[in-house]
């Protein structure tokens, strides 16, 4: 039987947005999208899809489902993953869930994953690159009651087990877990493949299944956030830059070293 991998993805404001164009609405505690800069799939999530595709490249008989929770615009992130080569896309779009914290998000994704059962492997990014929290993947493992391996640089499926190279400070460890399991992936896995035009055209024609909370048997009124964002703001940067002067490179270097020695940094 085919191996079934479920990848969780999120759409985020482009993290390459220049800092000068980054704005927040402090009252709404939300980021104001930079004009003319389209949102993108969160980088670590597409690395997760890449990991799933590599497993399919190796084993052949692998079905890859992509699940996302968010407004209709999150379809673009799903379509990107379908164009990369994933098979099916699912979007949980329910206005009652748009303010979900990581706990509610994990509950909803877990319900969606269970609806897509049987599954063998759930892959998420090590964190979403907007809130940078890194909690949903391990929480999914706890909610689903299955093993969890975080911060992977390589993911293989062998003999009914997942074999993961997990990034350590000065190397990696190889960890084996029985399936089904949750794996979160890191950038050390490598660049996600970029879809070809033909794949983008094909993905555009694919249907994305849309679910509400009720379709997953959930009542949003019972899904309570566990954290509240009390404030969101741009931190003041209090750096006073000294431009090191000098007529020659030698002079500039001498002056720089003098500053570094005064500050006891070298």
């Amino acid at each position: 039987m085919a191996l079934h991998i479920i990848c969780c993805v999120k759409q985020v404001p482009d993290p390459e947005t220049p800092a000068s164009q980054f704005r927040v609405d402090e009252a709404a505690k939300k980021v104001i999208p930079a004009p003319g800069i389209a949102p993108v799939p969160s980088q670590f999530d597409t690395i997760g899809v890449e990991a799933a595709l590599r497993i399919r490249d190796a084993l052949g008989d692998v079905k890859i489902s992509v699940v996302s929770m968010g407004p209709d615009s999150f379809r673009d992130a799903i379509k990107h993953c379908l164009a990369m080569g994933a098979d099916d896309g699912y979007l949980i779009n329910d206005p009652a869930l748009h303010e979900a914290d990581h706990w509610v998000t994990a509950q909803v994704l877990a319900a969606a994953i269970q609806k897509l059962a049987p599954f063998d492997l759930v892959i998420t990014g090590r964190q979403a690159v907007d809130w940078d929290m890194g909690v949903v993947g391990p929480t999914l493992a706890e909610l689903l009651g299955i093993p969890c391996v975080t911060i992977a640089k390589d993911v293989k499926v062998q003999d009914g087990k997942v074999v993961v190279e997990r990034v350590l400070l000065d190397g990696f460890e190889t960890v084996e877990a029985p399936l089904p399991a949750v794996v979160t992936v890191s950038n050390e896995l490598g660049e996600p493949r970029y879809p070809q035009l033909r794949q983008i055209m094909m993905a555009a024609r694919k249907q994305v299944t849309v679910w509400t909370a009720a379709d997953l048997g959930l009542n949003p009124a019972q899904l309570q956030n566990r954290v509240n964002v009390e404030a969101l703001y741009i931190p003041e940067t209090k750096v006073e830059t000294e431009f090191i002067e000098g007529d020659t490179v030698e002079e500039k270097v001498d002056r720089l070293l003098q500053r570094l020695r005064e500050a006891k940094l070298i």
Binding site: P15, L169, F172, T174, V229, L232, I244
Partner: protein, 333 residues
């Protein structure tokens, strides 16, 4: 007790208390008066003699030792239930862990099992009007978010070097409690097949006091040899921007930035790095940045304490030569 703070005492690979543990104890000590509770330090491992006194000297009131061969090395499936039971028994208001390879795995799972929430990679924990508030960078360091919690205990991981440790005080008194550990072998579903050390010598990027980083402006992989030379002279490590890693000029394991590593050296020397948001996310906590770039408008200069507007190809050889002279002079003294 309901107003205590429990610190997860992390060990280094060599089995000593890690610097992050002292930083967490410092943060907990400063938080304790506002909560009116004690500072507990839970240490999980095997062969834990000698750690208690050090934890007490660094700020713990009570050290909880979970000493068992099954805890020799970190495995989530073994550590999570032990820490979960300790937290349930002791009932602290706040649990602090380090934002480390272990903390990133352990904290979310602990929170899920305890039915509470966690704020990861935080830089500040405070009590205001009896509520615990946690502040953390988000959006790649472009923004800060402050959180309150609807559930208890509050769990937070703290970023390395975001907190000052206390001065070690060996006259401090505290209690030591050995806790019974029953690791259910059947509950440990994962198995470690092996560990590979990739960099046997040199300083780790995450631990380095000095980081010398290169970006697209280096124009090719060759420039990194000079960065390595400078880093070695300064006892530091070499980092790279995403652009340089994507181009294959330097290993991705050295990537600093949003989709790489967050580093917190005392001194960061950015060579040929423009300062894209992506990169700045990895150095948002660094106070002393030296930027060498020939473009006077480069974004990196805005965050730099010292800016050198020049071609790195001219600066680096001189810089290396003069640093070497300085180091040789120091060695002679």
């Amino acid at each position: 007790m309901a107003n205590d703070i429990l610190v997860f005492g992390e060990l280094t690979e060599e089995g000593r208390l890690a610097p992050i543990t002292f930083e967490l104890l410092g943060a907990a000590r400063r938080l304790a008066p506002a909560l009116g509770g004690r500072v507990l330090c839970a240490i999980l491992g095997a062969g834990l003699d000698g750690h208690s006194q050090e934890a007490i000297a660094q700020g713990a009131d009570v050290v909880l030792l979970a000493d068992d061969p099954a805890l020799q090395e970190y495995q989530g499936d073994a550590y999570v239930p032990v820490l979960e039971r300790l937290v349930r028994e002791k009932g602290p208001a706040v649990v602090l862990l380090g934002q480390t390879i272990i903390g990133r795995d352990l904290a979310p799972r602990l929170a899920a099992r305890l039915g509470t929430a966690v704020a990861m990679d935080s830089v500040e924990v405070e009590v205001q009007d009896g509520r615990v508030l946690v502040t953390r960078p988000c959006y790649g360091g472009n923004a800060r978010a402050r959180y309150s919690f609807n559930t208890s205990p509050v769990i937070a991981t703290l970023r390395a070097k975001s907190q000052e440790p206390l001065e070690r005080d060996d006259s401090r008194q505290g209690e030591v409690e050995r806790v019974a550990v029953n690791v259910d072998a059947a509950g440990v579903r994962t198995r470690v097949l092996g560990r590979v050390k990739q960099k046997a010598e040199g300083v780790r990027l995450e631990d380095a006091r000095v980081v010398v980083s290169g970006g697209r402006g280096l124009g090719g992989p060759e420039g990194f040899q000079q960065l390595e030379e400078l880093a070695e002279l300064l006892g530091g490590a070499v980092g790279a921007s995403r652009a340089a890693c994507d181009l294959g000029w330097y290993p991705v394991s050295a990537q600093v930035g949003l989709t790489g590593k967050v580093v917190t050296p005392d001194l960061y020397i950015a060579v040929g790095i423009s300062g894209a948001s992506q990169h700045m996310a990895g150095i948002s906590q660094v106070k002393n940045i030296v930027a060498i770039n020939k473009d006077p408008e480069a974004n990196i200069f805005k965050a730099s304490r010292w800016a050198v507007v020049a071609d790195w190809k001219e600066v680096l050889p001189v810089l290396i030569k003069k640093v070497r002279e300085l180091k040789e002079a120091e060695a002679r003294r």
